[in-house]
Amino acid sequence: MSPTAPYAAPLAPVGAVAARATDLSKVYGRGETRVAALDSVSVEFRRAQFTAIMGPSGSGKSTLMHCMAGLDSISSGSTRIGDVELGSLGDRQLTKLRRDRIGFVFQAFNLLPTLSALENITLPLDIAGRKPDPAWLQQIVATLGLSGRLAHRPSQLSGGQQQRVAVARALTSRPEIVFADEPTGNLDSRSGAELLGFLHESVRALQQTIVMVTHDPVAASYADRVVFLADGRIVDEMYEPTADAVLDRMRRFPGGNPRTPASDTQGRTS
């Protein structure tokens, strides 16, 4: 995806692959204590699509995201972002790749408390030493409903607003793909729904590619596609999911016991 392409036009034909894992394995420990967090996972994420990765605790969904985003090393197989093979990159090149071609939204602590919302949003561009594209920036800010909040410090924003700033930051460099790790985990259900709506809108209106790790069936229902993970393998996938269908599928996992969004906000505070 070329960063100079006009923002409104489809940046790439829907269906092109933004990220791909082939026979991806991630093993911790050795011998007796050897644990395979990911076991020969092959998966593709398509452009301008909103994918949710679901699975019970310990299924390897966060590990998959970390490996595909270049945050963690892999044991075997290959991962690509666009046409770049991550395995061949050193720390410096990986850092540059994350900066220029990947966006991140974490569960909590996405923002630097010392910087204003706007400064947080443009931080990846500042690090790269690039100027933001004003039109693009304005469109993101408008889409995420952040106008009028840009001068605020994170401590002056609500939790939902903070996560929206994080999403805006992830989008500002027009990354090829945005990885979101439980982005609604710390939000109440109303703010959570609002944020998911914005993510959905980013894919629709801004042609962005988003991969979101979650264990909340309601959150997953905002995605175009859900990939189910269990014991380090992809066990199923679902297009145009509904919350009920996802919940249903989750119940069929051995020991699968998805939490409700309400219990999530209480149970996963940091």
Binding site: R98, D100, D126
Partner: protein, 843 residues
């Protein structure tokens, strides 16, 4: 609560490492000083006790005067003492100063340590006080023995000739032996020359006399009774002291000296500990804020505020105890290493075991514990204010920054008071304002420390501007981090500021004083060269005559000093050729002319002395000389105060009769136009390359004075260095704890694309900003204090004026960023090495 405190302490070992190090260094300084002074004192006492072992009684002559020598010690007296019951032996000695020439013709020993004595052979023909290394003891007029080191410097072997001088011309003597000696003067870089008794008497001008008789007693003799018996046969004026009294007197002197060294060192140890207070306070403030949820939980389950305070204080106390115990051990190492180190630089401290007094142990530990607990007191109060409800807060929110209004108000008032006091001090013209100046300095320094958080903001913003321009977003992140907690930034910088304020103040004061002295020297002394004696004997009057006859010399003016009393108050008169004084000094006349001072009937008087005594031209000046005679010459001229000239100027005709031995202190030489170059060599040649004569140019004298100031200044730098080192440890500490606190932020920054080098640079730049803030404050306050306190010297030292040594000040400011980068090495590395995934997930 003790268990909680202990657990916390153990859980945060690495985080407390730097703090412990700061306490450790401070207490090591204290304990090192205490153990060192105890050990050196005891070693001196032991050595002295040993050297006084065989001394039952020591007899010294009375004072000399022109009337003769009251209480002279002669051969007859020695025989009479030998005949006393209980006397085992009497060792009669004749001491003086002898300058021995080294290979190049310069003095082989230091100026104050060029000793000469008589060789007293015992029954076996050897002197037990000076064990022979080679050859034999001197036994005839032309013979000499030297201590081994001096002999080495002269390059002479036994049988060769050695050049030497006492107060007259150069002599040569044959080296017949080398000896060992424990004479402290020789140990400190002096030289020792030995002659047979008649030669020593002749050389030192003591015909038929001795300078000391050392009496050894037979076993079982009562020292006191023997001393009494000796006293009974002494001539009037001579004195006898028992060995025990001598030992006691010297012991008191040693105590006095070691105590003054100890006090000086302890002052600097105190400064180091004070700097440490900031680091300890910073650490505990950070620990308390990191632990606020834990503390809130403790409060929620029923711990009282007092228990929370106590827990923090106990933790601090335990930390202090552990650190000061380690510090004490380091202090022992310092004390053990200091003696060889000082000896290597020319001191001569005797050997001896380390003396570890219980008071040294207890006071070091107590100081460490107290300082740590005291520094943790404010943070502990802060911990007590944490509300139980904070335990339930869902999300970590940085505690709301407390307002700085109260702090700024207090700081403003203190600073204003301090500055006002210091400005008031500038009105003083003498040192009566010292107490006030100290108060003002402490107030100003304290005020600036309290105000530092307020001042940090504009400074960091300014420095940040440069940082952003040079380093982009890294500089911006560093700036924001430095601004985030002004108290922390300020406390860290203050620690550095204290050391630099003192260093700057001392440097500015010393350099200004040096310049003043320089100016004074140039104004008052216009001679090109000063010729003087290296010993205590002075120069023979022949020297001035020889020099005056030397081609290339325009004027050679001898100066000799004679003391006298006027109304019981001592004063100094300078005997010279008054008419020639103007050729070698910048003397300014207030009234009359120096050429009118002639013969025994007239003198010139310095203006301050004339004012003091209320005398003017035409008055008579009654003088009581120390030989008991009086004179009352008429004052014919008054001259302005001059550093070279004494209270009174007179013709030698008036003064010489009252001198025990006529000798010049110095001869001032003015070169004929165009002849100054190479003159010193000609002068030395004309005086037979006498090692006892020193020729110094104006430049030499200036350099010597500057060297003295510099060596004191460097000592101060060394002692204050510890405070600076502790402050740097404080910067490391703050950065390391900040990195720990910001783990998740750093993880997030790494994830969104900040490279490791960027993380490092961010930490490094914050460190540099803090260090530079401290340096700028320190240098600024130091200059201000030196400027204002300097005014007190105006009356006693009118040439003093503020001189800013820009080079050195710039160096201090330039060292700051270097220190910042060094201090950031470890924390920056840690930050860059953080495991991203763990960091993002960290609590």
């Amino acid at each position: 609560m003790l268990r909680t405190a202990l657990r916390n302490l153990l859980a945060h070992k690495t985080r407390l490492l730097m703090t412990a190090l700061a306490v450790l260094l401070g207490t090591a300084f204290v304990s090192g000083t205490l153990v060192f002074s105890d050990s050196v004192g005891s070693a001196f006492r032991n050595k002295m006790a040993k050297s006084l072992d065989d001394v039952a009684v020591s007899v010294t002559p009375g004072p000399r005067s022109a009337k003769g020598h009251a209480g002279a010690l002669d051969d007859r007296l020695v025989e009479r003492i030998r005949a006393l019951p209980g006397v085992a032996s009497v060792r009669p000695s004749v001491d003086g100063t002898v300058t021995v020439a080294d290979r190049k013709g310069n003095p082989a020993g230091s100026e104050w340590g060029s000793a000469g004595a008589n060789y007293v052979p015992g029954k076996d023909g050897k002197d037990s006080r000076y064990p022979l290394v080679q050859g034999r003891g001197p036994a005839a007029d032309g013979e000499i023995a030297l201590d081994v080191r001096t002999a080495g410097k002269t390059g002479a072997k036994v049988g060769d000739t050695v050049r030497l001088a006492v107060d007259g011309p150069v002599m040569t003597k044959k080296l017949v032996g080398t000896v060992k000696t424990d004479d402290p003067r020789v140990g400190a870089g002096g030289s020792l020359a030995l002659f047979d008794t008649p030669t020593a008497r002749k050389l030192f001008g003591k015909p038929g006399e001795f300078t000391e008789l050392v009496i050894a007693a037979t076993p079982g003799t009562d020292q006191k009774a023997l001393t009494g018996a000796v006293r009974g046969i002494l001539p009037d004026g001579a004195e006898a002291q028992s060995g025990a009294d001598l030992a006691a007197a010297q012991s008191t002197m040693i105590d006095h000296q070691t105590k003054s060294i100890r006090t000086t060192f302890l002052v600097f140890a105190g400064i180091s500990l004070f700097v440490g207070v900031f680091i300890i306070a910073n650490t505990f403030t950070m620990l308390v804020s990191q632990r606020s949820r834990e503390i809130a939980l403790l409060r929620a389950v029923g711990a009282s505020r007092r228990q929370v305070v106590r827990s923090v204080l106990i933790e601090a106390g335990l930390l202090g105890l552990a650190a000061s115990a380690a510090g004490f051990v380091l202090g022992l190492g310092i004390a053990a290493g200091l003696r060889p180190a000082l000896n290597a630089t020319g001191a001569s401290l005797p050997d001896g075991p380390l003396v570890i007094a219980p008071t040294a142990v207890l006071s070091s530990l107590a100081v460490g514990v107290l300082v740590t607990a005291l520094a943790a007191w404010l943070p502990s109060r802060r911990a007590a204010r944490i509300a139980p409800v904070e335990a339930l807060a869902a999300v970590d929110q940085a505690p709301a920054a407390r307002g700085l209004v109260v702090r700024n108000t207090i700081g403003g008032v203190l600073t204003a008071l301090g500055v006002a006091v210091m400005l008031y001090v500038t009105g003083y013209r003498d040192t009566s304002g010292v107490g006030l100046a100290m108060t003002g300095s402490v107030l100003t320094l304290t005020g600036v420390i309290v105000l530092a958080p307020l001042l940090s903001r504009p400074f960091v913003l300014l420095a940040g501007k440069a940082g952003v321009r040079l380093f982009g977003v890294d500089g911006k992140l560093a700036r924001e981090n430095a601004l985030r907690n002004p108290r922390r930034t300020a406390a860290t910088a203050s620690a550095l500021m204290i050391g630099l304020t003192l260093i700057t103040g001392l440097t500015v004061g010393a350099v200004s004083a040096g310049h003043g002295m320089d100016k004074l020297g140039r104004q008052d002394l216009t001679a090109d060269y000063k010729v003087s004696s290296t010993g205590f004997h002075g120069l023979s009057p022949e020297v001035a005559k020889t020099l005056a006859a030397q081609p290339g010399v325009a004027a050679a003016v001898p100066l000799r000093t004679v003391g006298f009393e006027r109304d019981g108050a001592p004063a100094l008169a300078l005997g010279t050729r008054p008419g020639a004084v103007g050729e070698v000094t910048g003397v300014r006349m207030v009234s009359g002319s120096l050429s009118d001072v002639r013969g025994t009937g007239s003198v010139a008087v310095a203006e301050p002395y004339a004012k003091l005594k209320g005398i003017g031209p035409g008055d008579r000046l009654p003088m009581d000389f120390y030989d008991g005679k009086k004179a009352a010459p008429r004052v014919v001229a008054i001259y302005a105060d001059n550093d070279v000239l004494a209270d009174v100027l007179a013709d030698p005709a008036l003064l010489d009769p009252h001198m025990e031995k006529v000798a010049d202190d110095q001869v001032l030489v003015k070169a004929a136009p165009g002849q100054a170059a190479g003159l010193p060599e000609k002068i030395k040649e004309s005086l037979g390359r006498n090692p006892a004569v020193k020729v110094e140019s104006q430049e030499d004298m200036r350099r010597a004075a500057a060297g003295n100031i510099d060596s004191v200044l460097y000592l101060m730098y060394g002692l204050l260095g510890m405070a600076v080192v502790i402050a740097v440890i404080g910067v490391v500490n703050t950065l390391a704890m900040s990195v720990f606190e910001r783990t998740r932020e750093i993880g997030m920054l790494r994830a969104i694309g900040l490279a490791r080098t960027g993380v490092k640079r961010m930490v490094r730049l914050e460190s540099v900003m803090i260090a530079m803030f401290g340096a700028v404050l320190g240098v600024g306050v130091g200059i201000f204090l030196a400027w204002s306190a300097g005014h007190m010297l105006r009356s006693s030292f009118p040439q003093y004026e503020l001189v800013l040594p820009w080079g050195r000040l710039a160096l201090f400011l330039l060292i700051a960023p270097v220190v910042g980068v060094l201090a950031a090495l470890w924390p920056a590395r840690r930050a860059a090495r953080l495991n991203m995934l763990e960091a993002i997930g960290a609590q």
